[in-house]
Symmetry: C2
Subunit: 299 residues, 2 copies
């Protein structure tokens, strides 16, 4: 059987981003961590890590981590904390989950607030904020137990439940529209546009859809709530989830630039085939919340 | 005089996180980027880069980048875009700014919305979201033009203006209090506690202040708006900026756990000695907004 102490060392080096931090997490010395990695590589005859800063797993390392996540799932299902080292029955089970910023800011908090009484155990969430595309990669690499991604493709060893879609509308403040004398959407390409990060292509898609143009002047503003506040302050226009609009349109704080237009980003709950009953309860609860808060996914 | 083409190559490799991405940014080949870095190192007789993935600057590399930022400031002040390559007079000036997530989500959007007419030029913001401590390091390393940090210590070549303090209150939902039958704050150490990231020590400080304890069960939830929503959903208790409370207390959505208690996190605007008039206008405007929205800094 695989020596899981070795896989745990690999997992800690990747998740903590280095040998020294991994040693602190595992309560062992740094040289013990190195030894475990070397032992793993000696057994396999191949490297499992690329020694960069932070280290990254090789293709083989990724397969091992992916396998480890599935074993951990099975251990969650077993729910016998006392068998584990450094834990007792009251230790909550850790769930690493990757999701996009707009989910974190809107519907996901409610979806994670499933009651302990339904779970029969305590879950401790370690949420990682990632662009949809990167979240999927984290799942593929075996770094997380659950990911919320726009991709409907299950990863190897994984399954998928459709959650629903976040609907985005093109939004600006009335002052922004007045200041830049916008009376035709074709002017937008030259005006300040808000993007969340370099990976956020919603604004590009919007301009491309309306007249084949592209935003030429973009502010990068990596905060979901700040994005809305920046629109209200008149820093730029952009695509905002309807979930975040609240009463901003009726109050006249913000204006829908193109009422007939929207972009739906579908979201899928990715999980491992070896899903534990506790994580199944969580997934069912999340699907319920999502069905109330999100739009249906268009086929 | 220094060949700034070489420093620009160094800056691009660091900011883009690699030689290939730097080559795309600079519109030159990857081997041309390598050549420039080698040339720089040959001239200096010392490495400027550590060849990791992503690459990081050596101490000498950091000093060069820090110097480059100050030169760029002076060029902003000069405001003669036509002298630069790849730009014309209408090209907005890029301002890289690092700030903490709670600033991004609350008072900063308004502070950046200074009018073009007051600036006499267009500013394009590239905002980086970082913990206060990391933001300060980015400034020290010459990676950003402006940083918002809790440290009052100017970096080498830099100056500081106090902005004000974000006030944090200990908050939970009424359902959370009921569910966990909280009638004494000493119970909190064992109950689910929300932290933004491993660097977020506000919750630890709160428990330490009230009874010398430490949170034993923490959810990691890296979203400012999501943090508040997670409290409303009953996922845990935590410290929330008063700026984010809105009418949640009066509406009964959230409860102030300890009305006499708060933590103030002071914030400082860090800038380079060679500040351009445009960035001075921005700073003065940000100070005005901060004085309205933030608490005074206690001496």
């Amino acid at each position: 059987m695989i020596d899981y102490q070795l896989l745990n060392a690999l997992s800690a080096v990747i998740s903590e981003g280095g040998f020294e931090k991994a040693s602190k997490k595992l309560f062992i010395t740094q040289s013990a961590v190195s030894r475990r990695i070397h032992q793993l590589e000696a057994k396999l005859g191949e490297p499992v890590l690329i020694r960069t800063q932070p280290p990254s797993p090789t293709a083989l390392g990724k397969r091992l981590l992916n396998h480890l996540q599935q074993v951990l799932q099975l251990e969650v299902a077993l729910n016998v904390g006392a068998l584990n080292e450094h834990t007792d029955l009251n230790t909550p089970l850790s769930v690493r989950l990757a999701a996009n910023a707009d989910s974190l800011a809107t519907w996901l908090p409610e979806a994670l607030a499933v009651l302990d009484t339904e779970l029969t155990c305590k879950l401790r969430f370690e949420v990682i904020c990632e662009d949809q595309s990167v979240a999927h990669k984290r799942m593929k690499d075996g770094e997380v137990m659950v990911c919320i991604s726009s991709s409907p493709e299950p990863v190897n060893g994984g399954l998928v439940s459709p959650l629903g879609a976040i609907r985005y509308k093109a939004i600006a403040s009335p002052e922004f529209i007045k200041q830049h004398k916008i009376n035709d959407l074709s002017q937008l390409a030259h005006l300040p546009c808000l993007v969340y990060s370099d990976l956020d292509k919603l604004q590009h898609q919007f301009l491309n859809d309306i007249n084949g143009s592209t935003p030429l002047f973009t502010h990068i503003y990596p905060s979901s709530e700040g994005f809305k506040q920046a629109m209200i302050a008149g820093l730029g226009y952009g695509l905002l989830p309807t979930l975040q609009l609240g009463d901003s349109l009726t109050k006249g704080e913000l204006v829908d630039l193109f009422p007939e237009y929207y972009i739906d980003t579908p979201l899928y709950w990715h999980y491992w085939q070896t899903e534990s009953p506790q994580l199944k309860t969580l997934r069912k609860f999340a699907l319920q919340v999502a069905s109330k808060r999100l739009e249906p996914i268009n086929p």
